[in-house]
């Protein structure tokens, strides 16, 4: 690269098209030769006070005497700069990369090297408890947006030189930084290689959230209904997964960290399970499985039984249900579909609406649409109860909400068209689809199918820690893993 200061600066200005946030502070160093220098930053990304204290204040009064540009640059690095975070750089590409990350770059006229000084000082959200993964007992810390903060949250929990952060850049335009995080002694090199290959194949213009990448991490020709990529906002969860040989992908600007490979049974495991007593953890796990099946099958089974096999209802329920359904104008299939659909609309509205209006929407939903519709005889109370139960159950395993919602609609339609038989066939197809899915080569249904007795200690029930700690689980050791 040319070492003339004016040329470097004019090149930079041209690259940034004289963008308003590109800040260049021109300096003349105290020397016989009147050496020119410049500090380049991006407005809003660095802490001005820190910049003054660690760079400008020590630099301006220092007497460089008769030194030339190159000698002055060496002196700046060895004796002048008061910052601990200094990187020596040589190219324009590096300048752009560092200044857009909040560094200040010092360029000395006539010197070959330049210095990127860590003075990042942009505003960001603090480390808060993640709303989507609330725990009763355990850490209240959750990931935040800045990459380095998230890295420190993991490093604080894994004081181990085995923990490796490997930097990559994705997005042709956004140049988003991401970190692959893994334990060197636990991870499979082949698995890691496979992941890197997939990330390198990502040809997106911009990667603004970790979710953009999750589809690139899914296995090819694998069912996309269930996700083979885990997401967590909790550093303790990520650390737990790293010890099992998994790889975390931390994307700059997103608190949701991607974890691969992801297995079906993990959707039912929570941080609290490992803090609670074993019998209670087992009870909670079984409740989660029951809720999953209820959320998935209840409306479909209800429709199938009410439409084709009412004789299977116990007599008392049959009488009440028949009376209730007889008063409504719509067939039970359409009614169930309509209520489920209205519920989804209300849920979306509830998520997007300002918090101050949320209460009003809740009242409208519960009283107007719910109670009034039942009283007016538009919908039956039994159908409403079934849909509401399924809806509540679907939040018990919230990561599975998208596939469960879609499958629920499918089961309602099939139950209404083909009865129980249709639901059986659809279930068989669903199981086949799940069994064929892999996450980075690891079978998605591992522990169940292929069955492994050893890993079953942490599936339906959680064994005590003494028993769990006897065997190290490594995800690449799961049966029939292709890496």
């Amino acid at each position: 690269m040319n070492n003339s200061l004016s040329e470097i600066l004019s090149d930079l200005k041209a690259d940034f098209s004289d963008s308003a946030d590109l800040t260049i502070r021109n300096l003349t160093l105290k020397s016989e030769r009147q050496i020119k220098a410049a500090i380049v930053t991006i407005e809003g990304l660095c802490d001005k006070e820190q910049l003054s204290q660690s760079v400008i204040n020590p630099l301006l009064p220092y007497d460089f005497k008769s030194m030339k540009g190159q000698e002055a640059a060496d002196k700046i690095l060895s004796s002048v700069m008061a910052s601990s975070d200094v990187v020596v750089i040589y190219t324009k590409k590096e300048i752009i990369s560092f200044i857009t990350s909040g560094f200040a770059v010092i360029i000395v006229d006539g010197a070959q090297q330049m210095f990127a000084v860590g003075v990042q000082g942009y505003s960001f959200r603090g480390v808060n408890e993640p709303e989507s993964e609330v725990v009763q007992r355990g850490s209240r810390e959750g990931f935040s947006e800045p990459l380095r903060v998230n890295m420190s949250l993991i490093r604080r929990r894994m004081k181990n030189p085995d923990l490796v952060f490997e930097q990559m850049t994705v997005g042709r335009e956004s140049k988003t930084q991401l970190m692959l995080c893994y334990l060197k002694s636990r991870v499979s090199p082949k698995l890691l290689g496979k992941l890197k290959k997939r990330l390198n194949s990502c040809n997106l213009d911009s990667v603004l959230a970790s979710g953009y990448l999750s589809e690139y991490l899914e296995d090819e020709r694998s069912s996309r209904l269930f996700s083979g990529v885990g997401i967590s906002e909790r550093p303790d969860t990520v650390c737990g997964k790293l010890t099992e040989g998994r790889i975390a992908v931390i994307v700059d600007g997103t608190p949701a960290v991607l974890i691969v490979p992801r297995l079906f049974v993990e959707e039912f495991q929570g941080v609290d399970d490992y803090s609670n007593r074993t019998y209670y953890a087992a009870f909670i796990r079984l409740t989660k499985y029951l809720s999953f099946f209820t959320a998935l099958f209840l409306p479909g089974l209800y429709v199938a039984l009410a439409q084709f096999h009412p004789e299977y209802f116990p007599t008392g329920i049959l009488i009440k249900t028949s009376e209730s359904l007889a008063q409504t104008p719509l067939p039970v299939t359409l009614e169930t579909l309509a209520i489920t659909f209205v519920y989804e609309i209300m849920k979306e509205a509830g998520l997007r609406i300002p918090k101050s209006l949320g209460h009003a929407v809740g009242i409208v939903g519960a009283l107007v649409i719910g109670e009034s519709a039942v009283n007016a005889g538009i919908i039956s109370s039994s159908t409403l109860m079934v849909v509401a139960t399924a809806a509540i159950c679907s939040y018990v395993t919230s990561p599975l909400y998208p596939p469960v919602t879609m499958l629920r609609f499918i089961f309602i339609i099939i139950g209404g068209l083909c009865g129980l038989w249709g639901i059986v066939i659809a279930t068989a197809v669903m199981i086949i689809s799940m069994c064929s899915k892999t996450s980075l080569g690891v079978p998605y249904m591992s522990s169940l199918a292929p069955f492994s007795l050893r890993t079953m200690r942490d599936v339906f029930v959680r064994a005590d820690w003494k028993s769990l700690s006897k065997h190290i689980i490594k995800v690449q050791r799961f049966k029939e893993t292709e890496v």
Partner: protein
């Protein structure tokens, strides 16, 4: 499709579930004159024959760690087409042998308004999807089916205990030679799993001789229990009915909890789904194109056409559901032809070829 080798234990578990489904679906086609103990003896003899039929394919598997079809194509490349035709015919026949009674049972016993062909069409479409995923995935599905079968059987048998009656029927041995032949042929039907094993065991590992033995013992236990409950719980009423296992499930009650026949129907449906999916895998393999979408669809269409003929033409249905034809066909494909290759494989030239395939 995955190239990974999966546990042989799991394939045998899946085949065991397929074998158990015979008594779930079939019309319990044994002599009315023979006694319970006589039927049990016939069953033991029939399953012993099944085990003997396993021997050639077990020898091939243990010797080469390959499936029979791969060995046959390697040792006798000139016979590739006749073998493909014979095994394709057998598998189409086997699929119809299970599909026709199933749709018949469904429309007669469960939901009379439905057209059997529509059921067959939907079922075959689901099977095409499963067959495209391969044998490994179907055997994983078998694990879930095994758990479901265990629960259903426990409920079915547990719910029938209250109605057991040992006074009317004893444990004497009565039956003629004709009864013995008829019953034994019925109990040879599960040997179709031997042909499936011979064709689909190529990608399995850790095969042990005790695995097929164990599969047949569990099948025998299940048959024995179903026969016991049909005999002592339903009694004469059962012999006058079609699809006695369905009647057993319908009659079972645990307190106020009834309707076990819906679970039975689900089990039967999933069993047929699994058998036909495996058959589609096997038939495409016998045609030389494993889990190839084009071949799977072609054979599914052939199965549907055959089912249409079987549904509307009684003579065709009788051929497709004839126990004797099926037993003979099974013995030929499961034992006679593989046995020839057991002897052919002993020649040094054949050994060298197989060894080179194994190494590759």
């Amino acid at each position: 499709m995955s190239k990974v080798r999966f546990s042989s234990k799991r394939l045998l578990l899946t085949l065991m579930l397929c074998a158990c489904s015979v008594i779930l679906l079939q019309n319990y086609d044994i002599s009315e004159k023979s006694s319970f103990v006589f039927d049990i003896l016939c069953m033991l003899f029939g399953l012993a024959i099944c085990f003997v039929l396993f021997i050639p394919s077990v020898i091939i598997k243990m010797r080469t760690n390959l499936d029979f079809l791969t060995v046959a194509r390697t040792v006798t490349p000139k016979l590739k087409i006749p073998l493909a035709v014979l095994y394709s015919l057998y598998f189409v026949y086997a699929a119809e042998f299970f599909l026709l009674p199933y749709t018949d049972m469904f429309s007669k016993k469960y939901y009379s308004d439905v057209t059997p062909c529509l059921i067959a069409l939907i079922l075959l479409s689901a099977c095409v999807y499963a067959a495209l995923k391969g044998v490994n995935v179907i055997t994983r599905f078998g694990i879930f089916l095994f758990v479901f079968a265990l629960i259903t059987n426990l409920l079915m048998f547990g719910g029938s205990i209250g109605t057991l009656d040992f006074e009317l029927y004893g444990f004497e041995v009565t039956g003629s030679v004709n009864d013995f032949i008829k019953n034994t042929v019925y109990f040879i039907i599960p040997a179709f799993i031997v042909t499936l094993f011979a064709c689909l065991s190529g990608k399995t590992k850790n095969f042990k001789l005790r695995q097929p033995l164990f599969a047949l013992i569990v099948t025998g236990l299940k048959y024995g229990l179903i026969m016991f409950f049909i005999w002592f719980s339903l009694g004469d009423y059962a012999s006058k009915q079609e699809y006695q296992t369905f009647i057993l499930a319908r009659a079972a009650r645990i307190g106020f909890f009834g309707g076990i026949e819906s679970l039975y129907l689900a089990l039967a449906t999933m069993s047929v789904f699994m058998i036909i999916s495996l058959v589609l895998c096997a038939v495409t393999k016998s045609a030389g194109k494993e889990s190839d979408i084009k071949y799977v669809i072609i054979f599914a269409v052939i199965l549907f056409a055959a089912h249409m003929c079987g549904s509307y033409l009684n003579s065709v249905k009788e051929i497709f559901t004839n126990n004797y034809i099926f037993a003979v066909f099974t013995v030929i494909t499961a034992a006679v032809i593989p046995m020839m290759y057991v002897f052919a494989g002993r020649k040094s030239s054949a050994r060298k070829t197989l060894h080179s395939i194994n190494m590759s």
